[in-house]
Subunit: 98 residues, 2 copies
DNA sequence: CCGGTATATTCCCTTCTCGGTATATTCAAG
DNA sequence: CTTGAATATACCGAGAAGGGAATATACCGG
């Protein structure tokens, strides 16, 4: 879901401010249907919501699912909490495998 | 990538402690090749690393990519930090919007 | 060297994803 | 009612992903 770079770019654009589909299309360099399909995925994942203004659809961020990821990440955070741990893990990585 | 529930379970198991493939297979209820293939994906994404001990492969967490997600998440965090902070930032950054 | 154990790789099939083109829908304006 | 703008949906093809079964590889004990 968030592995998709295009969708992360959409979220980054929506972090600035809400955008209508046409602007997103232009800034992403996609076709309009391509943009709409990403927006549909994001909508169904609850990451964005739409505000309808005549023919324009203003898409805006819905941060709740991101907050859930943030929560899921919590127990892992101790792994890089101190620079010492990070350095140890880094050296281990370099020395062992790839 | 992390949308895959099986892979999130693998990471959760590896958060406890390193595991050899056989234990992961048993605790996940997958076939052994299925487990190995998920581990390969996680390895190529840099999320786990292997320590070889005779025939056993001990898989352990590699937190760097998770730290990157944590970093990517940073600018979004203000959206749910506290409702008061969120409102303040909203007014600061989007004062002229609608 | 041989058998057994632990793991990886390959093949096959089905389902999903992403991008594009073409078409439908909705609404405002005239 | 017709036109044009903004957006959504349907459909198609290439490629990736997920799972199982079968097979290969690597290593230990004897």
């Amino acid at each position: 879901m968030l592995a998709e770079p295009t969708r992360r770019r959409i979220l980054d654009l929506l972090l600035e401010r809400p955008h209508p589909v046409g602007e997103l299309t232009a800034r992403l360099g996609l076709t309009q249907p391509g943009t709409s399909k990403h927006l549909r995925v994001l909508r169904e994942a609850g990451l964005v919501q739409v505000r309808i203004d005549a023919q324009r659809r203003w898409y805006e961020l819905c941060p709740a699912p991101l907050a859930e990821i943030d929560t899921w990440l919590t127990p892992y955070r101790r792994l890089w909490a101190t620079s010492l741990d990070a350095l140890e893990l880094h050296l281990e990585t370099m020395g062992n495998d790839q």
